[in-house]
Amino acid sequence: MTQPASPARPVTEKSPPADGDKSPWRSLAARADVRTLSLLGVLAALVVIGGVTEPDAFLDTDNLQLILTQASVIGVVTVGMTFVIISGGIDLSVGAIVALASVWATTVATQDYGFAGILFTAVVVGLGCGLVNGLLIAYGGMVPFIATLAMLASGRGLALEITDGKTQMVTVDGVLKLGERDSYILGIPPLVMVFAAVTVVGWLLLNRTTFGRRSVAVGGNAEAARLAGIDVRRQRLYLYLLSGLCCGIAAFLLIILSGSGQNTNGNLYELDAIAAAIIGGTLLSGGRGTITGSVLGVLIFTTITNIFALNNLETAVQQIAKGAIIVAAVLVQRRTATT
């Protein structure tokens, strides 16, 4: 073995660029990053599978509208969750907040105030729960997992207390109308438009504002963020407020969708939202994540559920498939991250 004369070791060859090809596809790929493209690929594959297995039912306009509508509620929750996870936190209470906001906003007393009363109450209840979470975590020094777990438990309990387990029907016409076909604009349900708006605002907030930067900085290295002069605690408070706000909006969407408020609403939303964010490429340890990825994650899950339902497969199989997708997505991401 002869050593080179220079003590410096030769640089180990690391996957040399395949070629100097600068085709538009490559530059697009570079811009959109591999992760987003692969999620889009999965979604496209699902649409093909749906179209092949149930050509009539799946590609029907009604069905596509249904998929998007179903994705809207959990999608709005996932946008908030994505911010929280990017900042290195977790919010287990989203499902409970959705339930609590939806029942509080549909009590007889609230419905007396009509449309505005319902919307206002849902949003304020969401913000209130987020405020409690945020204060406990940012200023009370509680671990996010514990604080939001406690909120999950008490939120569900309070929701049950309010409804006494009964379904609260919505009687306000303005709210009910939003769920009807007449309100669709160019074939797009209002719920889906709200989801789209939340997505766009979330994307801008994350990528174009100081708020987004601070969230990423806090999640990437909280100590460095603190020593750079960022108010880490206040930022954490804002993030849980944001998640609560998203839950309030989602609760309002759910009220429109179901025409009622129930204490069992939002069951396991926390898991669906976390799963969607994770397969969308958000690091559970914080510091990295995208709104686009999370929304694609939501669409993928909703589409799978729809295809399985159309093919009359059991819920059990759906859930197994979801689990497999989470594992596959994370494994693929680990591979792409190390290369």
Binding site: R213, A217, G220, N221, R226, A228, G229, I230, G287, R288
Partner: protein, 530 residues
């Protein structure tokens, strides 16, 4: 020197991490039955070297010969099987398990291959603890309930539960009081008498005198001295090896009559520290910094250097005293107040305390001044990029592309990214904690030039370094610290390396040695923020 073949010969060990070469061709020779001391500053490569020896890191290059055979230590278990045990500084015990369970973790005595014979484990643990002089520790107790010193003993018992020929102890005395240190030395003596070799890492030179046989000194990932006699080598020589220059650095010229011309022109100090103290860390400190001035804090590890910087910056809350910038008192313990007033800190642990490793250089640079590129929270990213580019060009940061991830930069350029952050912020007092830690030797001179130029442009710089020549070469004025006290203040050109080493090592001649519990000094007027 004993003619017998060495127990362990490590030669040419090289290990790189992204951005820094932690070990660069290090040799270590250990004889059976000796206490071999490993010395070096933080970041000199000691931890990396012992992790290589423990099988926790794989070297990029170099060979390890163990009892005459070349070996590869693929894992900690492989090292343990050979008889190499390591007691890390951060104790690696499971607090929720008992003493005996910890001692035999991973090699529990079992029946039929899997049923743990708890009684046997407890009995042999008791025997080990007795041998270590701590029979009062009950093998059945939870480790989490023990004191730090007792946990240390448990760690040692675990090492001895294997068939060991070499024990590595990483700063074992750090958590011990003097009685316990005596016991530790007795144990070390027993071990070496039985032919076991001990690699002993400590910052305390007097300990090395007491028990050491030979000394290897690491600096900047290289062994600057191998196998010096521990008892005969003068202390000053050892320290000089640890803190001295091994390359003739070129320091930038100081402005004429440092501290005089500038002071006459601008007599007002930008930073003034009055009676600032933290119990158990440093005694009341008075300090004034004028624009254009570089003040150095010299002292050994543990003298309170970093703590002083972090307290001035508000990252630690002072027990007493105050910090003023331009005469205005800063809210104590508030980093945000300090940053707003114009302080900037380049901390010692760049990766852990300063950088957002997943992010680009631009975002690392702009993070403290985002309000300058935003309107109501809305970022003007083009403006941000331009500003970051200007700031990094100003410091000749390489590569000249602020969009690259900061983790791909070399140590020196990562440091420049931190400096650029504060430049962009318009910072007026720069607090530098070990600015050349992890920076390649060749890149240091450039960093020195940058720091001096920033001072010439009107910044006030407070510099902490464990390298005495660095402080003397760069600073205008030097404060020498020992055990949290300023023992001497002088213009840098009135001091030389020997004088500073005398001051940091002296016991008793120069100023107080026994911190009489630093408390609020008379200078604290407790005046509220003006």
């Amino acid at each position: 020197m004993a003619p017998e073949p060495p127990l362990l010969t490590m030669s040419g060990i090289t290990k790189s991490f992204p951005g820094v070469r932690a070990l660069d061709g290090v040799d270590l020779h250990v004889q059976a039955g000796e206490v071999h001391c490993l010395l070096g500053q933080n970041g000199a490569g000691k931890s990396t070297l012992i992790k290589v020896l423990a099988g926790a890191h794989q070297p990029d290059d170099g060979t390890i010969v163990w009892r005459g055979d070349q070996v590869t230590l693929r894992s900690p278990i492989a090292a343990m099987r050979l008889g190499i045990a390591t007691i890390y500084q951060e104790l690696d015990l499971v607090e929720g398990l008992s003493v005996a369970e910890n001692v035999y973790l991973g090699h529990e005595p079992t029946s039929a291959g899997f049923v743990v014979r708890g009684r046997d484990a407890r009995a042999s643990t008791a025997a080990l603890l007795k041998r270590l002089g701590h029979s009062e520790i009950d093998p059945g107790r939870l480790v989490g309930d023990l004191s730090a010193a007792q946990q240390q003993i448990v760690s040692m018992a675990r090492a001895l539960s294997h068939e060991v020929r070499l024990i590595v102890m990483d700063e074992p005395s750090a958590a011990l009081d003097p009685d316990e240190v005596d016991n530790l030395f007795r144990i070390v003596g027993d071990l070496t008498a039985a032919g076991v070799a001990v690699v002993y890492i400590s910052h305390r030179l007097e300990e090395i005198r007491r028990i050491g046989d030979r000394v290897t000194v690491l600096k900047d990932g290289r062994a600057v001295a191998v196998g010096l006699p521990a008892k005969e080598t003068p202390t000053r020589e050892v320290i000089a090896l640890m803190t001295g220059r091994n390359v003739e650095y070129v320091f930038p010229e100081r402005p004429e009559s440092p501290g005089n011309g500038a002071v006459a022109a601008r007599p007002e100090p930008v930073l003034s520290v009055q009676g600032l103290a933290r119990d158990g860390e440093f005694a009341p400190l008075d300090l004034e910094l004028r624009p254009g001035e570089i003040v150095g804090l010299a002292g050994l590890v543990g003298s309170g250097r970093s703590e002083i910087l972090e307290t001035i910056f508000g990252a630690r809350k002072p027990t007493s005293g105050q910090v003023r910038v331009d005469g205005r008192v800063l809210r104590p313990g508030s980093v945000r107040a300090a940053v707003r007033a114009g302080l900037g800190l380049a901390p010692e642990e760049r990766k852990a305390q300063a950088l957002l490793m997943l992010e680009s250089v631009t975002r690392n640079v702009s993070v403290s001044s985002m309000s300058r590129f935003s309107y109501g929270g809305w970022l003007d990213r083009a403006k941000e990029l331009r500003a970051a580019r200007d700031a990094t060009r100003e410091l000749s940061l390489r590569p000249d592309n602020p969009s690259v991830p900061v983790r791909t930069l070399s140590g020196g350029n990562q440091q420049k990214a931190v400096l650029a952050r504060w430049l962009l912020r318009g910072c007026r007092v720069l607090l530098l904690d070990e600015p050349t830690r992890g920076v390649d030797v060749g890149a240091r001179a450039e960093l020195y030039t940058v720091i001096r130029r920033l001072a010439d442009e009107g910044l006030a710089v407070l510099l902490v370094s464990s390298e005495v020549p660095e402080v003397l070469g760069l600073a205008d004025r030097v404060l020498v610290l020992r055990e949290g006290h300023v023992v001497h203040t002088a213009p840098a050109h009135d001091l030389d390396e020997h004088r500073v080493l005398d001051l940091v090592l002296a016991s008793g001649q120069h100023g107080p040695t026994h911190p009489e519990g630093p408390h609020s000094p008379a200078t604290t007027e407790g005046s509220p923020a003006s």
